[in-house]
């Protein structure tokens, strides 16, 4: 039996080496050449070792230099690194010049390994923490939108606790995960954990875009990685205590654009209790709405003017409030540093009674003991969500549905007193016979959740030799919580509400727990072979375990009203349980060979073993190779060029494999719905058939990168071109249902993707106290399905039969398909010669892809003295989405389209009749029937391509005006920093004329089924507020 012995080897080899070093002490002060001010935070290291110190608040440092060392290196972001020989001195003062090249910047790469940018053979982009928090976002991911080329952030909905989808360079897998890997403080994490992170705690995020960048993380990083580093104190920094507070008000940005000409009714006739809008034209007369109350009722029949009420749906929504406060402390002493924070956020949503609160605590600390640095990053997070339930009424609908099913002539906000039997908002009295009062929905359906997360990373870094470091890291990310979802029973008086059925009550309790454990060990060495050749090598091992469990108990038809405990249910409670474990481990090596500091060759390899594939088939090796060429240093003619200050070209190729989820290699049985019946139990075979030889999928990426710096770094340009090819895709194909399965999980086909990322940034204007920096990111990518398998040219990811998201051979992925009108060769709609109704193709047509052709992000920062004005805008275009909501509202007659012919029968414009095969004659006189109602609700609504809309959007995602008080004003005050700001999130959105329903970014699921949304979410919102930061 093969035993794990690698760690033993690594550890035993180095344990016992003398940790004590002989050396002399050097002290000094580092100042800036620009203004002579002291520079805190400058890194002072002994070259070729990791022995180092950092200057304190006064620019002073002290370092113990080994006897064998002859030089010290001083580096600071934005400054030229200097290397000075010691020459026996004990005091060395240094003046640093402003950097002319960003190539000296340090990049945090995979596994926390730091490399100079010039050495990195693939494309990365860094976002500083303060760029993320400028508009006080509640989720860090939201603040990344528009700031990084290649990154697409989808905010799945509004609401008090939104979720986000993070995609890098589009999609590479049809059925597999396409989201970027999140690594927090060196440990593999999750996008949920990223959402749970207090954005104020983030020091920076390094975005490793291609699979190349992340080959060392194994399968999980096949979609690129976001390396998130949380704050630690700076060495030499004095104690800082600060508070960041913000308040934002959230409002509905826009409601769907509806017709306001026709009101409540059916087939052209007024109907006082309809949710539909097929009534007569608004005329302003007083009309009955709601049930007719009998004479002995305390209620009188409600009368309202038959005319549209302005913003009647909008008025249902409230202004949401979000307060957030973070108190933080950081500092250092001797060889210790720490950062601690406490965050508190409280939010009231736009939906009445929606509430959310979260608290987070973080303590990061490190201590250096001789050659060993120990560091610990821990965080605890807890949130409580109290929102309206998602299965309201006798049709189990979402709240927005009830709002949307309210006619234009209904004064919706007057129905808020839903629990009062003498109010028109009360169940029996409400006007709408089919969809209940949304206020009632809010009061009788609640979904409560509490989740907790603990993350802990323990890190040990040991400088065994000047050139050799051993680092080991143990991390845990534990997430647990519980939820309660309940619905109250509602009965109806059949004489007032004949169409409603009793709404049954239920209570559902859920509990979940998931824990990731990760362990890494790496040995890294830096060698100088001679003056020209350097070698940096890393050997390592990594092990991961993921445990998950979930329990749900639901009890129906509760006996005691208002008592929401499962013991209160009648009949058998429903119980569901899910547990899973996934494990893997891997060994890897990475070596970078540099020549004259202007060309670097990187090679890495990793071998993984996973628990989720069959033994014997569960090991896979993946290599990567890359080259970085700093041509401005290499080519003499380009040296010291004032225009082109630096230039770097990179090329890389990497291969990554994706494995399966736990337990997916076997076909399974599960208990059949409703069973057991007493002693009779029943199981069903899963509808997922699994290929007996199911295997990993392979992603190969080629990438070409170019970094240019102009005018001493004032303007810079980053470009990348990449190509990915995914083969042996693990795909949930759609077999014929007659095979006895609805999904066939197999390795098939090929996807290829390519794209371009361009970033151009720099200072547009720079004079005295004024500076205007602009950064433009352009991302274009497309993924195409090259092949599936013989006889199958498409796979449905999700389909209604009339529209859906597909993978179609030869087309961009993901592809929207929908049924379309039959058209003649000139593109005119063919109508039935008898009915005048359009003919519909029986097969669905390709409507376009649902990820953008390109994304353009623009960031602007204008600074003048203490003022700064920032703006982030992004534009996405070239894609479509399906407006589920507007399709649903077509049925109710609220769509703009439904009044386009004035509710009359009409001749479809530009239509033809096929008089004999292939002969088309213009239709001038055959009208559709049912123009007052059924044409729209049935015929038009049946052609789902009518609801496939241009998903283009321009969003001003962030805007802020900040003012920081000048330091001299605060010289005598007890505070050291005060800044205040006005902030706005998503203040403006521009959408194409044809799309006026919802935010095309909203999506029903977090999966690859991108492009279907509309009414499961709340309407889109915008937020305004202010933020204050004070440091003591």
């Amino acid at each position: 039996m093969k035993r794990i012995f690698f760690l033993a080897l690594l550890l035993f080899t180095f344990v016992g080496i003398n940790l004590h070093a002989q050396g002399s002490e050097v002290t000094g002060t580092v100042t800036s050449a620009d203004d002579g001010s002291a520079l805190p935070g400058v890194s002072v290291v002994v070259p070729g070792t990791t022995i180092g110190a950092v200057t304190d608040f006064n620019g002073q440092y002290t370092i113990v230099v080994p006897g064998s060392s002859t030089a010290l290196m001083y580096s600071f972001v934005g400054m030229v690194t200097q290397e000075l020989s010691i020459d026996g001195r004990s005091i060395i003062d240094v003046v640093l010049e402003s950097s002319t090249t960003e190539l000296d910047e340090v990049v945090v790469t995979a596994l926390g390994i730091k490399r100079e940018k010039r050495e990195v053979t693939y494309v990365t982009q860094k976002v500083a923490g303060d760029e993320l928090t400028v508009v006080a976002p509640t989720r860090a991911a939201a603040a990344l939108a528009g700031k990084v080329a290649g990154l697409q952030i989808n905010i799945q909905d509004n609401g008090v606790n939104p979720s986000t989808q993070i995609l890098l360079r589009g999609l590479r897998s049809v059925s597999g995960n396409n989201s970027a890997l999140i690594v927090i403080d060196g440990s593999i994490s999750s996008s949920c954990a990223f959402d749970d992170l207090n954005p104020n705690d983030i020091a920076n995020i390094s975005v490793l875009k291609g699979a190349t960048a992340a080959a060392m993380y194994g399968s999980k990083a096949g979609n690129g990685a976001l390396i998130v580093t949380t704050k630690t104190g700076e060495s030499g920094q004095k104690l800082i205590v600060g508070i960041t507070s913000s308040y934002t008000a959230e409002k509905v940005a826009y409601m769907p654009k509806f017709q306001t000409k026709f009101g409540t009714g059916w087939e052209g006739a007024y109907d006082a209790v309809e949710n539909t809008n097929w009534g007569p034209r608004f005329d302003g007369t007083m009309r009955q709405i709601g049930p007719t109350f009998p004479d002995d009722s305390p209620m009188t029949t409600q009368m309202v003017a038959y005319s549209p009420v302005k913003d009647n749906l909008l008025d249902f929504y409230e202004t949401g409030d979000t307060w957030s406060n973070t108190v933080y402390m950081s500092g250092s002493k001797d060889n210790s540093k720490f950062y601690a924070s406490f965050g508190d956020q409280r939010a009231d949503g736009i939906v009445p009674q929606d509430q959310y609160k979260r608290n987070s605590v973080r303590v990061n600390a490190s201590k250096k003991i001789g050659k060993v640095e120990l560091s610990v990053n821990t965080s605890f997070f807890q949130d409580n969500t109290d929102v309206v339930g998602g299965t309201i009424g006798d049709q189990d609908r979402t709240l927005y549905w009830f709002v949307l099913n309210t006619s234009a002539n209904i004064p919706l906000s007057s129905y808020s007193d839903w629990s009062n039997p003498l109010s028109y908002g009360y169940g029996d009295n409400y006007y709408n016979a089919y969809y209940q009062n949304p206020y009632w929905g809010v009061g009788t359906n609640r979904n409560l959740d509490e989740t907790n997360r603990f993350t802990g990373n323990f890190n040990l870094s040991w400088d065994i030799m000047e050139w050799l470091n051993f680092t080991t890291r143990v991390g845990t990310n534990s997430n647990w919580g519980s939820g309660k979802n309940w619905r109250a029973r509602q009965t109806y008086d059949a004489s007032l509400q004949p169409a409603h059925s009793t709404v049954n009550s239920f209570v559902e309790d859920t509990e979940f727990q998931s824990t990731d454990y990760t362990g890494d060990a790496l040995l890294s060495g830096d060698f100088e072979v001679n003056d020209d050749i350097t070698v940096k090598a890393v050997l390592g091992a990594n092990v991961n375990t993921f445990d998950y469990s979930y329990l749900r108990i639901r009890a129906n038809n509760l006996s005691i009203p208002g008592f929401y405990d499962v013991s209160n249910g009648t009949g058998s409670p429903e119980v569901a349980r899910d547990e899973s474990v996934k494990r893997d481990f891997g060994f890897f090596g990475d070596v970078t060979v540099g020549y004259k500091n202007w060309i670097f060759l990187n090679m890495s390899g990793r071998n993984d073993w996973t628990s989720t594939l069959a033994p014997g088939n569960n090991s896979y090796f993946y290599p990567s190779v890359g080259l970085s060429f700093v041509f401005t240093d290499a080519i003499a003619a380009l040296n010291d060029n004032d225009i082109l200050t630096f230039g770097k070209l990179t090329m890389s190729n990497s291969t990554v494999y994706n494995d399966l989820g736990a337990y997916r290699i076997n076909e399974i049985y599960s208990q059949s719905a409703g069973f057991p019946y007493g002693a009779v139990n029943g199981f069903v075979l899963s509808n997922t058939a699994v290929d007996a030889n199911i295997n990993k999928e392979k992603i190969n990426t080629n990438e070409l990168g170019l970094n240019l710096g102009f005018l001493n770094g004032r303007v810079w340009f980053d470009g990348a071109y990449f190509m990915t090819a995914t083969t042996d895709l693990i795909t949930s194909t759609t077999p014929s249902v007659s095979s006895g399965s609805t999904v066939f999980l197999t390795n098939i086909g090929k996807l290829s993707g390519s794209g371009v990322e361009l970033s151009l940034g720099g200072s547009v204007l720079k004079m005295n106290d004024f500076q205007w920096d602009v950064n433009v990111n352009y991302t274009k990518f497309e993924t195409t399905v090259d092949e599936i398998y013989e006889g199958l040219d498409e796979i449905a990811l999700a389909t209604s039969g009339q529209y859906g998201i597909y993978a179609v051979v030869g087309e961009a992925f993901p592809q929207m398909k929908a049924n379309v009108y039959q058209e003649d060769p000139d593109g005119r709609i063919i109508v039935d010669p008898v009915s005048g109704h359009p003919l519909v193709e029986t097969e669905l047509a390709n409507m376009g892809k649902t990820t953008p052709d390109y994304i353009l992000g623009v960031n602007s920062v204008v600074r003048y003295k203490g003022f700064s004005v920032t703006a982030t805008l992004d534009y996405r275009t070239g894609h479509v989405y399906y407006e589920q909501g507007s399709s649903a509202m077509e049925f109710t007659g609220r769509s703009i389209a439904s009044v386009s012919a004035n509710r009359q029968d009409f001749v479809i414009p530009n239509s033809v009749i096929e008089t004999s095969e292939g002969v088309f004659v213009e239709n001038t006189n055959i009208q559709v029937s049912g123009g007052r109602h059924s044409y729209w609700s049935d015929k038009y609504n049946d052609v789902k391509s009518n609801y496939v809309k241009d998903a283009s959007a321009v969003k001003l995602r962030e805007f802020s005006v900040n003012y920081t008080l000048p330091a001299k004003m605060l010289a005598k005050a007890p505070v050291s920093k005060v800044s205040i700001g006005f902030i706005a999130r998503n203040p403006f959105t521009w959408l194409p004329e044809e799309n006026r329903f919802s935010d095309p970014e909203f999506n029903n699921s977090n999966s690859n089924v991108i492009g279907i949304g509309g009414y499961y979410q709340s309407p889109p919102t915008k937020s305004y507020g202010f933020t204050v930061n004070i440091e003591f």
Partner: protein
């Protein structure tokens, strides 16, 4: 420091060495789902699926009820828009095709594929029930995947087989099932896990014969089935002797109720479902039953206090001339002869149908029985199922089509018409097949919203087949003219 490091490393090594690589990775056994189960756990869920595909909301019988003017829609609902338009598309009733294969047939296939001979009874049941379902699919769709179907990962794109060829194969399979039962050696005998016959294998043989009878009578106009019918007689076990009900032990609990009760009656909380309120009699059927003085009208339909009231199929304007004339309280919803209770068995083959099949065979001279006796026994079986008491007065009422003797010259019409009434609300798809085959009952109107002179004769292949099995699925036949082979 040195010592601490040493301990940490020793500890780490011990922890890692303790488990071998294989053991460390050997965690891929699903703790929540088995990968194999015994047939006694497969059969009851299969049978529950059978009940569901026949009886649930918008499944097979429901479709028959819509096509055969049994059911209409009350005011306040837009439940049956596509049905009233005869809007046969690739999504219309696609779940009939989809669920037949992926629910019931998938489960019966597991039984049919059992290799251990101790499970021969289960295999036989699998074969009989597959034949039952495949016949329904042929009758609704014509050519369908059969010989290559249900092989799951071994064939994701089965070819479509000729409908008549499938019919012949079903007879062979039913014969094989009877042989399996007859010749089984020390078999495991199903018990309470058999939700149809409780493991009574004689009844299974009778049911096999009954399914054969349905097949043979259906194709009797296009093929001489005399010898096949004679073979059933020779076999000697006869036909079922009571309604075939699936009842795994239905309870008034969520997901556990009788399927038609739960969908078109009352939910587990005792609330009348919206589908139940939405569904009511057509005025045509009420008039028809009244015309025959048929007492079953009060069992098939609920009688409101204001008297029976139906809605013309496809009515658009419910409020003219009288506002709210057709709200659920005022119309005749489904009656308590159909919706007896939430725990009743689900009828998948009624005794009345057996008699009417025999009556038709006898009337056509395919068997030598007396058609009149079967005709009257069929009516009585229908009365019995509905709880309507004795039918003697009815079938001797001298009313044509109710009384055999008064239907001289129209015997087949009488049989099919009475079968239509008997199948109402139970297995109404059978009447739709009969109508397409015989044109009876005569005078059946179309929906007001129909744009064709008559109702469809078949359904379209579902959209999923067009995309997932595009190379094999035939072009969609004309849903209104391309009759199934037995009606050509």
């Amino acid at each position: 420091m040195k010592r601490i490091l040493k301990y940490i490393s020793i500890l780490a090594v011990i922890l890692l060495l303790n488990t071998s690589c294989e053991e460390f990775l050997d965690v891929n056994t699903d703790p929540n789902n088995p990968t194999s189960v015994t047939p006694d756990l497969v059969l009851p869920s299969a049978q529950k699926y059978t009940a569901s595909i026949i009886q649930k909301d918008r499944r097979i019988s429901h479709f028959g009820n819509m096509m055969m003017q049994n059911w209409s829609q009350s005011d306040g609902f837009s439940w049956y828009t596509d049905e009233f338009k005869y809007n046969v598309t690739s999504s219309f009733y696609q779940r009939v095709f989809n669920y037949s294969y992926t629910n019931s047939l998938k489960q019966y296939q597991i039984l049919d594929m059992l290799e251990d001979t101790r499970y021969d009874y289960y295999r036989a049941i699998g074969k009989i029930m597959k034949a039952y379902h495949f016949q329904l699919l042929v009758d609704i769709y014509g050519d369908i995947p059969y010989f290559e179907a249900l092989l799951r990962k071994d064939n994701a794109t089965p070819v479509y087989d000729d409908a008549a060829t499938i019919y012949a194969a079903l007879i062979t399979e039913l014969d094989a099932a009877i042989v399996l039962i007859d010749e089984a050696v020390a078999p495991d005998v199903p018990d309470i896990d058999d939700a149809m016959f409780g493991g009574d294998m004689d009844k299974w043989i009778q049911f096999a014969n009954t399914v054969k009878l349905r097949i043979l009578v259906r194709e009797s106009d296009v093929r001489d089935v005399t010898s096949d019918l004679a073979a059933i007689a020779t076999q000697g076990s006869g036909f079922i002797t009571s309604d075939v009900l699936v009842n795994p032990g239905y309870l008034i609990e969520k997901d556990k109720q009788n399927p038609i009760w739960g969908d078109l009656g009352w939910d587990e909380g005792g609330t009348q479902t919206l589908s139940s309120k939405a569904t009511c009699a057509t005025q045509f059927i009420l008039d028809y039953l009244t015309g025959l003085a048929d007492p079953r009208i009060d069992y098939i339909y609920e009688e409101p206090a204001t008297g029976h009231l139906g809605v013309v199929q496809g009515l658009l304007d419910y409020d003219t001339p009288v506002l709210d004339a057709f709200v659920p309280e005022l119309v005749s919803n489904i009656g308590d002869g159909i919706l007896k209770s939430g725990t009743m068995g689900a009828n998948i083959f009624s005794m009345a149908e057996v008699y009417f099949l025999l009556a038709e065979a006898a009337e056509k001279g395919l068997i030598t029985d007396d058609p009149k006796a079967h005709f009257e026994a069929g009516i009585q079986a229908s009365f019995d199922y509905l709880g309507a008491g004795s039918a003697a007065g009815y079938y001797s009422s001298a009313i044509p089509l109710a009384d055999w003797n008064s239907s001289t010259g129209d015997e087949l019409e009488a049989i099919i018409t009475q079968k239509w009434i008997a199948m109402n609300g139970i297995t109404a798809e059978q009447s739709w097949f009969d109508y397409n085959r015989t044109g009876f009952p005569s005078g059946l109107p179309v929906s007001l919203q129909a744009t064709t002179p008559d109702r469809p004769v078949r359904l379209f292949y579902p959209a999923g087949e067009l995309s997932a099995n595009g190379d094999n699925v035939p072009a969609q036949p004309d849903a209104f003219t391309a009759k199934i082979f037995w009606a050509e």
